[in-house]
Symmetry: C2
Subunit: 453 residues, 2 copies
């Protein structure tokens, strides 16, 4: 109780709570990872309040875990050592849109859809789309990406400046409003993806883009995963810029058909989106179709109308639901390895085999242009046998990826789920990361147990 009283001396009373429902909400994310309650949840309204909370926590060596929307997938926001959960939902304002600079300045609690609603007024949009309606603070903390990164890049590519409250309460700005800079160390990119272990973000300056004149979409069916991946490689080699390129494997299509009573061809399928002008897009789509046909494409559908486009992508959008629906009461484990593109076909093949061999079931889908793919496995977290199988699958996929120059996580981050693979992936450079962590958070109060074991 002392902790609450102390915090209520720093923040207005209503911004500090130990309400059991609120604590429970801040004990978990959207993953299968075991929940753990914080001791207290605070709702700061500005950077000064965040700074005061951190100064206090640092002085008393109390763990602090930043919390956005709670949509993380590796337990990032779960406060396994208790302490203070900082919820940024009261810091949710779009502070400034600078259309001529293609920039927006926002507070960390702004969600992706909220931001895009505001930007639309200016003919602009923010491209990073991780699926969930996450906060931009959370997206920056995990270096989120999603379906559009083949064209627009990942979260790290969009962040121009962060206002960060450090462990000891100091408030810094990491960057500037310029498109580029070679001034000093690039610490913006270091803080992006640091998962709350180096500081808490209180403001972000993000890059935004003009809404493309025309958006078109295509769906293409292939005899094999390898031919689908080869098509994407050839399309990218030809310099055709796609905004999204998603691969869904045959087993996954089968499940969607079952769930939706549709009859899509049960074959590896590519879902594409093109952004540009009408003349260029038609040309690009024709070229893409020709390349697809060279790789045995059995059906190539192309649409520009927005409703028809949505229909074309229906399978991709319904994929997770089709598997969630068939597994009531289970939790989702989403694997997230990334491999060099030339290894993706083999990796997806191997993943499907591993899922079958281990005796699990789930979807397989890939952000093909990035070499990043997910299996979505529904597991009963109370069944130790199933949990063991899930862990075995995860470990197998990570080993496969690492042995081929890949990464254990393409976009979800380390959280607690991937700490055990950090040594293997990074080798001695993990010591460099730890040295940086120690230099900036010597008492280890910031999101302890995440990224590092």
């Amino acid at each position: 109780m002392v902790l609450v009283d102390e915090l209520r001396r720093i923040l207005p009373e209503e911004q500090v709570t130990v309400n059991p429902t609120v604590l429970e909400q801040h004990s978990k994310d959207e993953s299968y990872h075991t929940p753990h309650l914080p001791d207290v949840v605070v709702f700061p309204k500005n950077k000064e309040e965040v700074s005061e909370v951190l100064k206090f926590a640092n002085d008393h060596e109390i763990p602090v875990t930043p919390f956005g929307f709670g949509s993380s997938l590796e337990g990032h926001v779960i406060p396994y050592q208790g302490g203070i959960s900082i919820d940024f939902q009261l810091m949710n304002r779009v502070l400034e849109v600078r259309p001529n600079d293609f920039l927006v300045r926002v507070q960390p609690g702004v969600t992706r859809t909220q931001l895009n609603k505001e930007l639309k007024k200016y003919g602009l949009f923010f491209p990073v789309d991780p699926g969930a309606d996450a906060t931009v603070g959370g997206m920056a903390a995990t270096n989120a990406s999603g379906t559009t990164s083949v064209r627009y890049g990942v979260m790290r590519d969009q962040v121009r400046d962060l206002e960060v409250v450090l462990a000891d309460g100091r408030i810094i700005h990491t960057g500037s409003m310029t498109a580029k800079s070679s001034s000093g160390y690039h610490i913006t990119g270091l803080f992006v993806g640091s998962e709350g272990t180096l500081g808490a973000f209180t403001e972000l300056t993000l890059r935004v883009y003009g809404i493309p004149e025309v958006i078109s979409a295509a769906r293409a069916v292939f005899p094999s995963v390898e031919e689908a991946v080869a098509t994407v490689t050839d399309i990218l080699s030809a310099g055709i810029q796609m905004a999204r390129i998603e691969l869904v494997d045959a087993r996954s299509i089968k499940q969607v058909n079952l769930y939706n009573q549709t009859d899509y061809p049960v074959k590896p399928t590519l879902f594409m989106e093109f952004h540009g002008n009408e003349a260029g897009l038609q040309y690009d789509a024709d070229f893409a179709e020709k390349i697809a046909q060279d790789h045995g494409c059995e059906e190539f559908l192309f649409e520009t109308d927005s409703k028809e486009r949505a229909k074309l992508w229906e399978v991709r959008h319904n994929l997770a639901y089709a598997f969630v629906h068939k597994s009531p009461g289970k939790k989702m484990m989403v694997t997230d390895v990334c491999v060099p593109m030339s290894e993706l076909g083999g990796a997806i093949h191997d993943a499907r085999e591993a899922i079958d061999r281990i005796g699990l079931d789930g979807a397989l889908l890939g952000h093909v242009g990035d070499g990043n793919y997910h299996s979505i496995i529904m597991i009963d977290v109370d069944d130790p046998e199933e949990m063991k199988k899930a862990a075995e699958l995860n470990a197998h996929l990570v080993d496969y990826a690492l042995s081929r120059g890949g990464s254990c996580t393409g976009e979800h981050g380390v959280g607690v789920g991937k700490t055990k693979y950090q040594q293997k992936e990074h080798g001695e450079s993990l010591d460099v990361m730890k040295a940086i962590k120690f230099a900036l958070d010597p008492k280890g109060i910031l999101n302890p147990g995440k990224i590092f074991e």
Copy 2:
């Protein structure tokens, strides 16, 4: 002599030299900064040799300065505290091209044109073009960019993995071969732009791109700098992707006309390059021309043929020479501030006024899509009055940029020339940078005096 003898115990004799000519070559870069001799120059052939040299230097607290091509513009490679200059010219092999992964693995001494010659065989190219035929190691060390970053990004955006030898000789890999990763801290981006102060690069894995199907170019003449900049903003808002957009001011065109006996309109002029397919490019160029005309464009020329394209860009290419030519015996000072795009028109106006007011002369050109511009001033380094004027101009431009959310260097880096502006630009985040430097190079042997005062 002891130092040389010790180093010759570590490296083959012919790879360690105190030859005065060689020392002199390693005492300077392409800028006006005062030269300073190293005590010895070494030419390692592999990472193990680099590691041995660094272990030795760290044990004996001897300064070490990495050296690529020597084309830096802020004294980065000048060993002001003497010690060892590590020249990477013997590590100049393209190790592996992975066309299906759009990756290349290279040694640090590979030059930009050497790399592109090799990539061309695969229909690929490396887009970063800082002008000079720098080594990729040096380009990564300074986070170089140039004319193409509006489309392809800067050096940091291309580096997937670095093999780095740390101050104490440890050899690490900072990244992987994947297009993206959210695994651990993004230290690749931290080492890129660290100017040899955190480690020496011994291998780089770089992103490469398919050579575009069609390249076209345009030149457009405007009544004012503001209208030219507004045109670029509108073009980017419309989602038209340009590969290069360069602005040259009227005074600079006048000098080119004098030097080349040409009669280009003495007005602010935009030089554009488009990459894409034929249909799309024609559409984009027509659209760009329409936008330009809305901003009072007085002449818009468009070309696709490669010879005609080169002619269209002639002014831009001859710019520096036109000023160098008129100032025999002088050295070049190139300023390099970056501002938010909305501030660029005002900044260029102010820069021209400042050049006139201070009593200097030179070219003004901008990478408009990035808000980055240069003045190229020829100065007599032996004339204290002229040196004072140059310093005054530099300081004025930096102050102007910083007061408008800008950066003191867009692409050249800090070196010794911009150390004095670091505190003002970064505030307390400079302490974070220093903490990282101290964590990784506690004895301060790596390129001392650069970035930090």
